[in-house]
């Protein structure tokens, strides 16, 4: 008589390892879906008189790119940026430009520093978000004033502080993305 195994003995964090495979649709679509939802979310929240909310869509995009290099193709800034532009209130094309530049820049950073850790990723993401917010203000079409530049400081700080949380959320989504859901045979 073979003793019954514990139900978790043949499972890892992606689910049962026997007789199961991950769903290709889910594995391919989750990053795009989460980035698009994050782009849409600030549109539905009602703004205060100053921009306080960090650009969630861009942070999510940055997070997926940093945590799963190679998952998003390098030209993906065009479609995802165009979607973000529809709802961000920026002139159309600003996110297409800035997200494409971000993709190329991150690729170059990765070639230069192939071994990275969480702290360095956080540093990269904060720097990226700060540059993005500043450049987005420059191309927003309004006149540039000192007051406007000062108003972005809390937004930049919040974006930098939000990265660990975004990284956690992306890790959860990544586990969901790769969980074995398809039954084989």
């Amino acid at each position: 008589m073979i003793e019954r195994l514990a139900p978790t003995a043949r499972a890892d964090r992606y689910g049962n390892r026997i007789n199961r495979a991950r769903s290709p649709w889910r594995a391919a679509s989750v990053p795009y879906a989460t980035i698009m939802i994050a782009s849409l979310l600030p549109f539905l929240l009602l703004a205060d008189v100053v921009p306080l909310l960090p650009p969630l869509g861009f942070l999510m995009f940055l997070g997926w790119r940093i945590m799963r290099p190679g998952l998003l193709p390098i030209w993906v800034g065009v479609p995802l940026g165009a979607f973000d532009d529809l709802f961000s209130g920026q002139p159309f094309g600003s996110a297409v430009l800035l997200w494409s530049i971000a993709m190329i820049t991150l690729e170059l950073i990765e070639t230069r520093f192939p071994w990275r850790g969480f702290w360095q990723d956080w540093f990269t993401a904060s720097l990226g978000a700060a540059a993005y917010i500043a450049l987005a203000m420059v191309v927003s079409g309004g006149p540039l004033t000192m007051a406007m530049a000062l108003a972005t400081v809390p937004q930049i700080a919040l974006a930098a502080l939000l990265y660990p949380f975004i990284a956690q959320v992306i890790a959860r989504f990544d586990r969901f993305r790769l969980s074995r859901s398809r039954r084989i045979g």
């Binding site: 929240l45 009602l46 205060d48 921009p51 709802f87 209130g89 430009l97 530049i101 192939p114």
Partner: protein, 310 residues
């Protein structure tokens, strides 16, 4: 974490070409973005239908969100009101006393106004709003300040119509899509509004600064007559807003005017009403070049473009 080894192209010609193509496409994408950006900064109306269509699609979700927001906002208010109930009661009682006195005074003024208007034979009716709705969303991450309404062309909204809440002016309709529209809020850096001091007729411009304050710039320079706490209302100049709607309270003095805080904070408003343009003729006339006669260009006056960039 090292990058996955599958991303190294090594000696494989195929892998090398695909990396190269990726870079090429990304660069072309960036150039495409630059071109689109230049187009939309140069001709803001060229790509606006694209954004308008997208807003139309998500506006039902925004409407649902606005309803939830209105419900949940009151929970926090209720708790804080309970917390401060005792002290608030005393202050409110005092305020009511004063308000009653002021109300009586206002009635007297109103009666006198009525008398004077009848002398001048001025007929003035209550302005019927074109639509009453909620703000469904906003550009909360961009440095530009826009809000979105779930009413559009089918509801009779037109570019340039003023948007106000019960507390005061919120902004002006900038772009109209089929069933949604975009509002330029007063704090946007492209927004300029002619105002006057409520107490007298000191005229000024209220310009958005992009950081939540309005800059009050006096038209007549010289000795600055303003004081902190002065209330500014619309002057009616320019023809978009009807005169006498509250705009802002002065909080800080500067050499040529001051900084003012908004009366109607868009995030605190519940319902807003869209009103017809106060004097379409004046708006149209402002668009006619000086050399031309106004009556020759009057036919296309109502389609006045609502100024202010994108």
């Amino acid at each position: 974490m090292a990058p996955p080894s599958s991303r190294r192209s090594g000696f494989s010609k195929k892998a090398q070409y695909s990396v190269f193509t990726g870079y090429l496409l990304a660069t072309l994408g960036a150039l495409l973005g630059l071109a689109l950006l230049a187009l939309s900064l140069w001709q803001p109306s060229a790509l606006a239908p694209l954004q308008g269509g997208a807003q139309d699609v998500v506006s039902p979700a925004g409407r649902a969100g606005a309803t939830v927001r209105a419900g949940s906002g009151s929970v926090a208010d209720t708790i804080s009101a309970y917390w401060n109930a005792g002290a608030q009661n005393a202050t409110l009682r005092e305020e009511v006393e004063i308000a009653r006195i002021r109300l009586a005074e206002a009635e007297a003024v109103a009666a006198e106004n009525e008398r004077l208007k009848s002398l001048l034979a001025l007929a003035e009716g209550e302005i019927e709003p074109v639509a009453t709705t909620r703000l469904i969303g906003s550009s909360s991450t961009s440095s530009r300040r826009f809000a979105y309404l779930s009413v559009g062309r089918v509801d009779g909204i037109e570019t340039g119509m003023p948007v106000r809440s019960a507390r005061g002016v919120v902004g002006r309709v900038l772009e109209v899509a089929r069933s949604s529209s975009r509002v330029l809020l007063l704090t946007d850096s492209e927004s300029v509004l002619p105002v006057r001091r409520a107490a007298d007729d000191t005229v000024a411009f209220a310009e958005g600064r992009g950081d939540g304050f309005l800059r009050i710039r006096l038209i007549n320079l010289g000795l600055n007559p303003l004081q902190e706490g002065d209330v500014f209302v619309t002057s009616g100049a320019g023809g978009y807003y009807r005169p006498g709607v509250a705009v802002a309270v002065l909080t800080e003095l500067t050499s040529d005017g001051g900084l003012a805080r908004l009366m109607a904070n868009p995030s605190a408003t519940d319902f807003v009403s869209v009103e017809p343009i106060f004097a379409p003729v004046a708006v149209g006339a402002a668009l006619v070049p000086v050399e031309e006669r106004i009556d020759s260009a009057e036919n296309d006056a109502p389609s006045a473009q609502g100024g202010g960039g994108n």
